[in-house]
Each structure stands twice: as C-alpha cells, then as structure tokens.
C-alpha cells in the first residue's frame, strides 16, 4: 500500500492549484459559470481535457490518476464543471468510436476547439436497462426519439453523445453523435440552485445516419459503463477536494474569531466538529482514490466506485453543513465562498448516481435475494 502521489503528479497538483488560484474569482465576486468559455479554453490549453486521450490523437496519454490529481484541484477551486462533462464525452469517443471517428474528433475535443457532452438521463428512467430513448429506422436512415434531462453544459456544445437503445433491445446499447443545432433537437436550460448549466434535451425524430453512431450500433454499452464509472470516481475525488477546502474555511474562521474572551477553536465542542469532518473527508479521500486506482489497473471496481461516491457525498455535504454551523452568519452570507461549496456538495451528491442509487447498487452486489 503506497498512498503517495508520484513526483510528476505532485508537480501537476502544484501547477493546477497555482493556475486555478490566479483565474478563479475572489470571494464575493460573481460566481464563474459551469460552462465558462474562457476558462474552458484555458483548461483545454493546459491539456486537462485531453489528459487521458491518446497522444496520437492530440491527447496527453496520461492515466486516470493523473486526471484525478487535476480533479481534486478543480474541486478545491470550484473550477467550471464543464471540464468533466467534456472529458467524459471525449473519452466516450475514444473508447466507443471507430478509428476514423477518433482521428476526426479527438484532436478538436482535446484542444477545446470542439466540446461534447453526454445526454444520458431521462425523466422517467434511471437505470441503463430502462432508458427509453430509441434509435429507429426512418426512411433510408435513422432517427433518434426521446427526452433527455440534466444534460450538463449542453448549450454551446458542438456535439451531444446520446445514449439510446434500438427497438427490441433490453436497454442502452448505442451511442449517437448529434450536434445540438440539428433539426428536431431542442435544448432548454433548467434552473438549478447550484447555478450550473444543465438542460433538458428533446429529440423529436432527429435524423441521423450510421456514420453518426459511435463505433457500430449495439456496441456502445460497455464503453458507456466504463466512462460512467470513471466519471463517478473522478467526481468523487473532485468532491473530496471541495470538502477539504470547506473544512479549511471553517478552521480558518474558528482560529480567528473570538467569543467569551477566547478563540472559538479552543472550545472542545468546536474541535470535535472539526475532527469528525476531518475523519469523514480523509476516509472519502482514500475511498475515492481507491476507486480511481481500481479502474486504472482493471481491478474489480463496481463496489469500490459506489463506495467512493457514497463516502464523498456524505463527506462533502457534512463538511459544508458543519462549516456553516462553525462559521455561523459569517459563512452564510454570499460574500463568503462557503455557500458555493455547499451548492456544489449537494449538486454533486445527486449527480453521477445519488447516494440512494449507489446504495442500491451495493445492495445488489451483496446478493441478498428478492423473495416474494
């Protein structure tokens, strides 16, 4: 067991932290948008979007743990989450696409001149086996029919990667590339308290061709499952980065603030809040990195990924809510950065599988039976 980052990863973390410190707004300034174009361009220029992609296609040839190093710093700085939606979609092109598709698309996606996002969730379905969006025959070609929701950063994306099934199939099997401006596509932003840019996407018999399918029809399921697992593990690391920062903000406050003639941090009741959050954050940190490691080294990862997401969600929500308690009114005002971490904590906890979803997966893995 060796929990240290490599020297190169240490350097990557340092440079990511210092870059983000210079570009992210000061406390109290307007929040940066989740799809901020200028910051996205800078992150792409630093090689973050393409970090995991093959060098032959303009990527960095890095590992999942390299990308996790960036994710932790992005979470700490509340960097625009478009980084992750773009990374996931590009990774799907890499894993599911044909060589011709990789050659055509990946250089632009890695450089940030193009940007894709994944259209997965649906209003009445959660599991990959029940999603209903379908890829149907239409005249000489194909058509996409369905409703997607909570598509991250869809406005301004060059491509949607739509998860669909073909008639008669038991679940999602096929990934289809669709420019959001195509006839029949309607993108409607939704209002979330986190202020990020998610949208509902209606697909009203959107005409597509075989060439728009990533790889071949019916071959999208495994790449999709893989990328969802990677996204979940990366997001868990990102969440721990944010949770750790929220804890630091609380510690900074109680180390400075005096009441009853003493620093707040001398009160044992305060110290024990700090300790309990610290334990939760450290535990989630280990679980998140274990999930990244298991995926990177092709170890059994299903349970590790779900455990990481549950632990990261618990830790991030607890860190931010406890920080509110420790900072009192000073942390509750929008001049203080804490509320942004609290927004991200809840939004992230619900995204990439909620706590309830991942507990259900873990339950299924225990093989408890269903009975009558």
């Amino acid at each position: 067991m060796d929990l240290a980052l490599s020297p190169e990863q240490e350097e990557l973390a340092r440079s990511a932290r210092s870059f983000l410190a210079t570009v992210m707004p000061a406390p109290g300034a307007p929040a940066v948008r989740s799809d901020d174009e200028a910051l996205f361009a800078e992150m792409a220029a630093l090689g973050w979007v393409g970090l995991l992609l093959p060098e032959a296609h303009g990527g960095g040839g890095g590992t999942l743990s390299d990308l996790a190093v960036v994710a932790a710093e992005a979470g700490r700085a509340l960097a625009p989450t478009v980084l992750f939606s773009a990374v996931a979609a590009a990774r799907l092109v890499e894993l599911a696409g044909t060589e011709a598709q990789r050659r055509a698309l990946l250089p632009g996606l890695a450089a940030g001149s193009a940007r894709a996002t994944v259209a997965l969730h649906e209003p009445d379905h959660e599991e990959l086996d029940s999603l209903a969006t379908s890829l149907e025959a239409a005249g000489d070609g194909l058509a996409l029919v369905g409703e997607k929701r909570f598509v991250a950063d869809a406005v301004g994306a060059s491509h949607l990667v739509v998860a669909a099934r073909r008639p008669g199939e038991p679940g999602v099997s096929t990934l289809v590339l669709v420019p959001p401006g195509s006839p029949g596509v309607e993108v409607v932003p939704v209002g979330t308290f986190g202020g990020d840019r998610q949208a509902a996407v209606s697909l009203r018999r959107v005409a597509v061709s075989e060439e728009d399918v990533l790889g071949a029809p019916g071959e999208g399921r495994r790449p999709l499952e893989r990328v969802l697992a990677e996204t979940t593990a990366l997001q868990s690391v990102e969440m721990v980065g944010g949770a750790r920062r929220a804890l630091e903000l609380a510690v900074e406050h109680v180390s400075r603030r005096e009441q009853f003639g003493r620093t707040l941090g001398t009160f044992q009741a305060v110290q024990h809040h700090v300790a309990d959050v610290a334990i939760a954050v450290d535990a989630a940190d280990l679980a998140a990195w274990q999930a990244v490691w298991a995926l990177e080294h092709d170890r059994p990862s299903t349970a590790a990924v779900s455990m990481a997401k549950v632990a990261a969600g618990d830790a991030y929500r607890r860190a931010t809510l406890t920080a509110f308690q420790l900072c009192g009114g000073a942390g509750y005002v929008t001049d203080h950065p804490l509320h942004r971490y609290a927004d991200r904590a809840k939004a992230a906890s619900l995204t990439a599988g909620s706590t309830v979803d991942h507990l259900a997966r873990l339950t299924a893995g225990l093989g408890l039976g269903t009975g009558g």
Binding site: M1, D2, L3, A4, L5, S6, Q9, S65, V251, V254, S255, R262, T263, G265, T266, F267, Q268, V270, Q271, H272, V274, A275, D276, A278, I279, D282, A283, A284, L286, A287, W289, Q290, V292, W293, A294, H297, A303, A304, M307, V310, A311, L359, A360, L362, T363, L366, G367, L368, G369, T370, G371, G372
Partner: protein, 391 residues
C-alpha cells in the same frame, strides 16, 4: 499510488491463514466467544504459546533483538486475520510494552526482558489509569520513592486488565511530585508476585474481567526503572500511536458483517429472505461502505508508520472510526436479527454464535478505552489543524 498488497505481504497473509486453519478450530473459536473476555483459559494459553513458538509475539521487533522485523502493515494484516478468525489477538505486552523497552531500555534491560517476552513467559498488565487519573493520565499519583538500591511503590491502579494471570506490572509512577505533571513520571517493571500487591477483580458489562490493584510498600530493584528517571511520559505516549492503530483493526468487524449478510440471505421470514427487506438491505449497504472506510483508515495509519511518518492524527482517526463502527454494526446487527439478537453464545440457537450482541456490548469499552474518542478528537483537531489547547 498503489492500493495493492506487496507480494511479500500477500505471502505473509497466506502463512498466517494457513497457521489459523491448522491451529485454531471452530471449537476454539466457540471457546473464545463463550469465554467472553476470559483471557487466561487453557485454549488461549495454548494459542499464545503457539504464536510464541513462531516468534510471532516479536513480529515487528528488529532482528538484532530476536524479532522478525516485519512492517506495521504486516502486523495489521496479522491482527486482522486473527480478528476475522475470532482468535485472541496479541496483547499489549507484544504490541506496546516490548517496543517501548526496545526504544527506551538499557542494553542490560533488553537482554533481561526481551527473550522471556518473546517466549511468552513474561506478560505485562499495563498499569496507567488510577481511580482519580483516567483521561487526565498525567495527574496519576502512585508514588515510587527511592530507598537505597530499591524503589518503594505505594498507590492504586485501575482497569489493570490481566493482573490476575500476568507475571509483571508495567507501572507508571510519580517519581518527582514537585515537577509539572508530565515531567515527574517514571515507568517501573514490577513482578506481580512481589509482596504488597493486592488484586481485586472487577467484572464489566460484556463479562470481561479487569482489576483494581493496590500497591503497599512494594519494593523492586532500582534497575527495574525503564526509560530514564522522570522520562515516563515519553515512554508511555510513544507507544500510543501504535496502540491506536491496533484498536483500529477491522478483521473482527468483517467477520460479523459477512456473517450477517450470509444470515440475511439464508434466513426466510414471512416467505422472503431477511435481506430482501429494503430497510435491511440498505442498512447492510451502509455498513459495507463504513467497513471499507474503516479498513482504509487503518491501513493508511500503518503505512505511514512504515514510511517513517508519525501518524498522530491519523492513528486517532482509525481508532475513532473503527470503534464507532463497532457500536453501529453491533447495534444494526442485533436489530436485524430481531428477537434472536439477544441470544448469548451459550445458546445453541444463537445466530452468528452470539457475535452480534458481543460486539454491541464490547463497543462502549472500545470507544472510551485506549484514550477516549473525545481525547482522540482533540488530538485530530489540535495536531491535524493546529487548533489550540485550552489555556
């Protein structure tokens, strides 16, 4: 970053499991469970002797002291395997006192005490706490006064587990009453047969026996003082990080969890497996997450020790998280078992051999023992985040 076991560690684990398969039977396990904390029975004496024959009481000692020079991760693997098997673990003599002697003793003391400890012939009851010195350990008042070539000891110790069968006391005494509390303490080795020692048994909730021990004009030779005059606080506290990692072991909890899951698969109530009840399934999934987090925190602290780092806050984290999980898992498991959760290990029908209720009733001791979890949280906040001690 690597979450794998090293190859040598995997071999070591296999060796330990083979030993347990050959020398610790299902009957032994039942014996241990029914003993409920009676640590001096014949099975346990035999088992400890078998550990000693393999030098496994000297696992982490340096080779020049007759040890196997294994890492802390290997020691944790070992203790996890013992805990999972339901076997008695190595006690504080091997895990705490011997390392303290190696660190702080004179060459003559090492030569005198280490061989019999390694052979299992010398076992220590640890005498730190007193009736009026618990969490505030530095306020201990048991006095040791120099008289010629001897120390004369007067005072009282409590929670002195093992005094009824151990050969020696590892005793924290006040040697300088005028110094500040932390600077006037020394550690003395006291043969338990020395005249003037009275052992009173105390029975605890789970059934484990501990003791209150009185010392009245107890005389030991001057060279029984270990680690320098008035240097006892350092001797005591150095050992504590290791002790907290040992308390953070998760092997026994894994056994309970796996047994509980198996029980929930197989036990059909009202026409469906217990595990098919959604509230049971969710509770089990939560425990699965927490058990893995506990394991990771425990191995993290051990890996830090192996890397030469001092895991003050991290050792406290594993102690707090694992012992709080003992309480949660014991509680959840007994509730899931329902009426049968109250059956004790002597009842043939007790699910999991009564293990769930044993964990439930042992958990309070783990949470307040070994430095209360409140003290551990103080350490995490103060050493990990620089929050001040109250002045």
């Amino acid at each position: 970053m690597d979450f794998d076991l090293e190859e040598t560690h995997a071999h070591w684990l296999a060796e330990v499991r083979t030993f347990l398969a050959e020398h610790f039977s299902a009957g032994d396990e039942e014996d241990a469970r029914r003993g409920g904390g009676e640590w001096s029975g014949p099975m346990i004496r035999r088992f400890r002797r078998q550990l000693a024959e393999r030098d496994w009481l000297a696992l982490t000692w340096p080779e020049e002291e007759g040890g196997l020079a294994k890492s802390m991760v290997e020691q944790v693997l070992f203790m996890d395997a013992l805990g999972y098997a339901g076997a008695p673990s190595i006690d504080m003599t091997a895990s705490s006192v011997a390392p303290a002697i190696i660190r702080s003793g004179t060459p003559a003391q090492l030569e005198r005490w280490l061989p019999p400890i390694r052979a299992g012939e010398v076992e220590f009851a640890v005498g730190y706490s007193e009736p009026d010195a618990g969490s505030d350990l530095a306020s201990l008042q048991t006095r040791a006064v120099r008289d010629g070539d001897e120390w004369v000891i007067n005072g009282e110790k409590i929670w002195n587990t093992g005094a009824e069968y151990c050969t020696h006391e590892w005793l924290a005494c006040r040697t300088d009453p005028d110094a500040s509390p932390h600077r006037g303490i020394s550690v003395l080795i006291v043969p338990i047969e020395t005249p003037g020692i009275t052992v009173h048994g105390i029975t605890t909730w789970r059934g484990m026996r501990t003791n209150q021990v009185a010392f009245s004009d107890v005389r030991v030779p001057a060279d029984h003082l270990v680690g320098g005059l008035h240097e006892g606080w350092r001797v005591i506290t150095q050992a504590l990080d290791f002790e907290r990692v040992a308390i953070g072991i998760t092997g026994g909890l894994r056994r309970l969890f796996e047994g509980l899951v198996d029980h929930c698969r197989k036990t059909v109530v009202d026409g469906r497996p217990l595990g098919a009840r959604p509230e049971v399934a969710t509770a089990l999934a939560r425990l699965a997450v927490d058990l893995e987090l506990a394991r990771l925190l425990n191995y993290r602290a051990a890996a830090m020790i192996d890397a030469g780092q001092v895991p003050h806050g991290e050792a406290s984290m594993t102690k707090v998280f694992t012992t709080e999980l003992h309480a949660r898992m014991g509680d959840t498991a007994t509730e899931v078992l329902g009426l049968a959760g109250q059956l004790d290990p002597y009842d043939e029908g007790a699910p999991l051999g009564g293990l769930a209720q044993l964990v439930y009733r042992a958990a309070p001791y783990l949470r307040f023992g070994g430095g209360t979890n409140e003290i551990q949280r103080d350490i995490i906040a103060q050493q990990g985040f620089g929050l001040p001690r109250r002045s």
